[in-house]
Subunit: 398 residues, 2 copies
């Protein structure tokens, strides 16, 4: 018996006026999701805790059974792992953007015109040496991850990214009184200053200026976090695990948990086949589908409905799998199109497979699942429930 | 106002194909349980936490309000208390079996032919003296409890019971690096060696050999645990408490909680009358009914249905009681006939009595109760809910 967990990022929503008060999930035509709900047990989930606005990162950690309140200090480490940097417990990592600043360090473009190729720039930045710290870098277009490795570091450092244009780059400041935070802030300041010098003079930016493109002449840092000790998924659960995702943060979480990471096909049906193929090898597959969340951030319930119907078609590929295995379909957080960002509402869940105690719910939606046999659980409850169904649990007591 | 908590051991189940997908509890004819559900409030319970496979011991501890994660280290202490050994906090206790081994200490029969009378053997073993430790023993047929009392002991000792036949007795090994664990393992080794010598030569075994019965010539130990400090039930809740049970482990938990233990009548109707009689004296009665669990372990849904219908007849005796008092009916864990062992599914609960906020559920079953007014609670929640209904709670705040 194997388990497939399909996490539809930001799928859950709130009632949409234009849909007569239905949510996009209620308005969409979802015969396959509804069939799974009918043959399964359903419920609602607080990804972290009631009312808490989970990020995709903290929610996925919880879904995999790692308490985000213990292991999550910032997005940096997961982003860095997702970009392929090999990390060690204690490393301090930042998410960065290549940005455009003027001669007064006023931010003109937080993404440097969404520059596509930053590999030469990153190579140049790798020449920077700072005392007592090893520096690691990786980039994907305008996005970049920066890692400091060494003794006496802290993640308690403020963002240099002002999160706005027409304001000056922020100084890196310690967020507590420790010597480690002061030192790390100084290191980030020094790194930023030298990176700016190198980027200003770099031929890539000379070319961009000649082409009237905004130069990528500053590295804005944010989301400092320390790499946690994550017990590997396979040791923790005695299950081999893999992850299919498109976003760096989800891949990073899976990598830090020691799971195999599979680059997702863009087409959903192709991706379903990828998943089934992967499940011939591994016991547990986490599949993240990003696009519903993007529709929510874009305030577009119509787009969300289209994504949901595409997900439903993909889920149709799993109806055979579920005869002898378990499938979970859920959302990682609510991204209401009305809000355009994550909220703390519950999300729907269904679990289908041979031994579930089915309920009377025959539709997969926020409100239908609220009447389900699971009632209300938390993200951290999922792995114990799955391990029990997979017969991988040990008895506590006798 | 008094409270009766009827715990139907292993009652809850999963859908049974032969029953058209009904659980045994759904398939059984249960007019009295359904009547209580109709007049009460219902819900589902995670005995310990979602997905966790509770033992009867950890679940009953939780139901009585003692956190098993704090007080439970192994089954030994509860079994020993159940067999009537007076225990003190810090004692280390083992569950043992009288077993048959050959001259190479290979286990031939883990229960020594289910030997019925071991009192003379236990008396002989009471002569064993070990340095710095007091030894206590009690037995019930082939089952035995062994207690070490003294300074510098630890429960972190492996089983000598190999849990299989045709393999050699396991050595007792320390499970951590502490001097206490090493010493306790040595004591158990030395005790086992000397017990074997005494048992080999004992006239009871000479007789058994002459009768071609397997000799009870080894004491296999398992389930080491340290006796926890359990605040007495009456102090904790200002309620006098009693327990009616048939199994040593449940009696042991009740004894360690300072509750009065009443040996259960075999007949369920007689047992119901016992309960009502006891409730004339005490405020709170816990009643454990073991047989549904046995049906689950035996993979027999038909047997489970018969047990459930007998329980239902018994519960009919309580319909008067509930006019002015509270009754709880629940299961301590799920024992699916398909699995033959405990699983981590939720269990149904009903609470009936004068002041409950009734719901629309009119049947007592796993799925009917999932729609109840209690929603999903945990075992540890029961005592606070009952104390509140009994008007024995204090306000937290003003």
């Amino acid at each position: 018996m194997k388990a497939l967990v399909v996490v539809c990022d930001g799928l859950a929503d709130r009632p949409v006026k234009a849909f007569g008060g239905k949510t996009p999930l209620e308005a969409a035509d979802t015969p396959n999701l509804d069939a799974l709900a009918a043959m399964g047990i359903t419920g609602i989930v607080d990804p972290v805790a009631p009312g808490i606005r989970a990020g995709s990162d903290t929610s996925h950690l919880a879904i995999l059974g790692y308490d985000p309140c213990e292991v999550y200090t910032g997005r940096g480490p997961f982003e860095a792992a997702g970009m392929g940097i090999e990390l060690r417990e204690g490393d301090v990592a930042f998410r960065c953007n290549f940005a455009t600043v003027d001669e007064n360090l006023v931010v003109k473009d937080r993404r440097a015109g969404r520059i596509e190729d930053t590999s030469a720039l990153v190579d140049a930045l790798r020449n920077i040496r700072l005392p007592g710290v090893e520096i690691k870098l990786a980039s994907l277009a305008y996005r970049c991850a920066l890692v400091f490795r060494g003794e006496g570091l802290s993640y308690r450092v403020s963002d240099t990214d002002p999160h706005a244009t027409e304001v000056k780059v922020h100084p890196a400041q310690p967020l507590d009184d420790s010597a480690e935070a002061r030192r790390t802030a100084q290191l980030l300041e020094e790194f930023s200053r030298r990176a700016h010098e190198i980027l200003e003079m770099h031929e890539v930016n000379a070319r961009r200026r000649a082409e009237n493109l905004p130069p990528a002449n500053y590295l804005l840092a944010r989301g400092a976090g320390v790499v946690p000790k994550l017990e590997s998924f396979s040791q923790r659960y005695r299950l081999s695990g893999a992850c299919i995702a498109t976003t760096a943060i989800i891949k990073g979480i899976a990598r830090l948990a020691g799971m195999k990471v599979i680059e997702a096909e863009k087409d959903y049906i192709a991706r379903a086949k990828q998943a089934l193929l992967a499940l011939e090898e591994v016991d547990f597959l986490l599949m993240n589908i990003k696009e519903a969340d993007e529709a929510g951030h874009d305030h577009s319930p119509e787009k969300k409905v289209r994504v949901i119907e595409a997900i439903d078609a993909m889920v149709g590929e799993f109806l055979d799998f579920v005869q002898e295995n378990y499938i979970v379909v859920m959302s990682d957080h609510t991204t209401p199109c009305s809000v355009g960002d994550h909220t703390g509402d519950t999300v729907p869940i269904l679990i289908a497979g041979p031994e579930v105690r089915t309920d009377e719910v025959a539709a997969f939606s926020e409100r239908a699942c609220a009447k389900g046999g699971l009632n209300r659980i938390r993200g951290m409850d999922l792995m114990p429930i799955l391990l029990d169904l997979l017969n991988k649990s040990e008895k506590f007591g006798a």
